[in-house]
Amino acid sequence: MADLAVRCAGIPLRNPFLLASGVWGESGESLAGAWAAGAGGVITKSIGSVPRPGYPNPTIETYERWGMLNAMGLPNPGIDEYPREVEIARRAGATVIGSVFAGDAPEFARLAARMAATGVAAVELNLSCPHAEGFGTEVGSTPENVERIVRAVVAAVEIPVIAKITPNTADPAGLAVAAERGGAAAISAINTLRALAIDVRLHRPVLSHGFGGLSGAAIKPVGLACVWQIYDKVSIPVVGVGGIMTAEDALEYVMAGAGALEVGTALTFEGVGVFGRLARDLTALLDELGYARLEDAVGAAHPAR
């Protein structure tokens, strides 16, 4: 049986499938539930300095199995209240990665330090939410900003820093290179693609915020291209995310260069049991292909260097 255990950003993971940020991560019990269902680790909802209710509904539009559009608007209970949710997940034994979002480098550094104090294994910086004014993509779409923010956070915490970058730019790999220069231990790619849905009978956008972020199977090829390019340009691990619904999807990302993976939208269509299924199916697929360890397949689709 092929070994799914990986090390990513220095963190040992029992399998590569992390719960993606934004899905299930508002309450500690839900994080613990994803862990109990077999996730290799769980990433919290992106947490900010103050509580944030998010946008009014509709915040979501689904396209059967091929995708989902959301503009939740970064709802979160704020860093003052969130540590007890992390504590619940940690008591359940979960490997927890804390996601944070902020408006500038000093705020990122303060928040990340407080997140680190909860005992999380790493922090993931949300530099890429496509639908929140003043946050996410708006602060993370230039290499200069990404490098400055990552550098400030790395100076403020002693745990690995993962930069989650946006695909909504001409050169996502350039952002990854900037994050590596700033001292990031890993890159997560990709966040959702900025997108829109319109109800033709009502002559208006469906989501209350207008624009949202597209996730799910539809964006997998985009994510693969980004991971491929990033793998070529940085020497730190890449966490592949975007439309992973099957073991084949997962192995595509790994062969493109991902050392770990995030799963989000698949929970909408399949429920949390997706973690167990992906792990079983990926083991079988690696066995079929003759890989003893998943790590041996990282970057396998790239020409020999």
């Binding site: 934004g22 899905v23 299930w24 991560g25 508002e26 309450s27 019990e29 839900s30 613990a32 539930g33 909802k45 509580p51 944030r52 209710p53 998010g54 009014p56 509904n57 509709p58 915040t59 979501i60 539009e61 689904t62 396209y63 059967e64 989902m68 959301n70 939740m72 709802p75 979160n76 209970p77 704020g78 209240e81 109800d199 033709v200 009978r201 009502l202 002559h203 208006r204 956008p205 469906v206 209350s208 915020h209 207008g210 624009f211 989000g264 939208t265 929970l267 909408t268 429920g271």
Partner: protein, 287 residues
């Protein structure tokens, strides 16, 4: 950017059908634009809206109701059978107040139904409804009566005019025992007192309850003493209704996909129940 409400009228051709899918669309994943056909003032604080919506539904399930330009809220179906579905809305906040004033002809976006349903197999059921809880209990009792189940209803409200669906319960052949806070009809006090007396006097195979969680907790305790299983219809702040966003977390469960109906023994280990819910940001708010 927030989008200002548009005044342009929607197509006058009546209910729309989703068109962006190849093959048969799943109501779970698409919104269907419907038009309100009927508005009924059930009590001074409760209004029923009826609309045509084809997807089959079962008692206990809910739909997401989009009021274009406003909000999208979860509502239990108070009328589940056939094509004409219905929701019964009590004023809880600004959105529900606006929903109540919706006139016939207004366009709504509906998706669902979502969630689980009441198990209709018990033969003798005690229904305990407080406030607007009767909205989800009435269709369950109706379906049970059609199957020959005997139904006794303990129905509570602040005052007599607020007793929701009292006549509907009677019309389906259920016995209705009333409690009002001000004593204007039936037993003065809380409905839990009536429920306790009924549980002491008569044998039941199951209790179905919906209302404030503190009320449901008392019902669970009273029924538990007699070994009668209790099923609670619960409510939490809800956004996606698809088990993704975590807004409706209730302990280890999500109300949208694991509920809204929970057997009481599943709730026994949930610290949230009858203790706190979460607001739109995920902060804990005590009841």
């Amino acid at each position: 950017m927030p989008w200002a409400p548009r005044t342009r009228p929607a197509s006058p051709k009546g209910p729309g059908r989703p068109s962006r899918y190849i093959g048969r669309p799943l109501a779970r994943y698409v919104r269907t634009i419907v038009r309100v056909t009927e508005r009924v003032e059930e009590t001074p604080s409760t209004v029923t809206l009826r609309f045509p919506y084809d997807p089959p539904a079962a008692p206990g399930q809910f739909v997401m109701v989009w009021i274009p330009g406003d909000d999208e809220i979860p509502m239990s179906l108070s009328y589940v059978s056939g094509r004409s579905k219905g929701i019964t809305v009590k004023v809880m906040g600004e959105t529900t107040r606006r929903v109540q004033s919706i006139p016939p002809g207004t366009a709504l976006g509906i998706r669902g139904p979502y969630g689980n349903r009441f198990d209709l197999s018990p033969r003798r059921v005690l229904v305990v409804g407080g406030g607007s809880g009767a909205a989800v209990l009435a269709p369950a009792a109706e379906a049970a009566r059609l199957g020959g189940t005997s139904v006794v209803v303990a129905l509570g409200a602040t005052r007599a005019p607020e007793l929701l669906f009292r006549d509907r319960f009677r019309a389906m052949g259920a016995r209705v025992e009333v409690a009002t806070d001000d004593g204007s009809e039936g037993t003065p006090g809380f409905v839990t007192g009536v429920a306790e007396r009924l549980l002491a006097d008569e044998p039941f195979d199951a209790v179905w309850t919906c209302g404030p969680e503190v009320m449901m907790q008392k019902v669970i305790v009273a029924a538990g003493r007699r070994g009668v299983p209790v099923y609670c219809s619960t409510e939490r702040h809800m956004k996606c209704a698809l088990g993704m966003c975590d807004a409706c977390a209730l302990g280890p469960y999500h109300v949208c996909t694991d509920g809204p109906v929970f057997a009481a023994d599943r709730l026994a280990t949930v610290p949230d129940f009858a203790s706190f819910h979460r607001d739109s940001s995920g902060r804990r708010v005590p009841f």
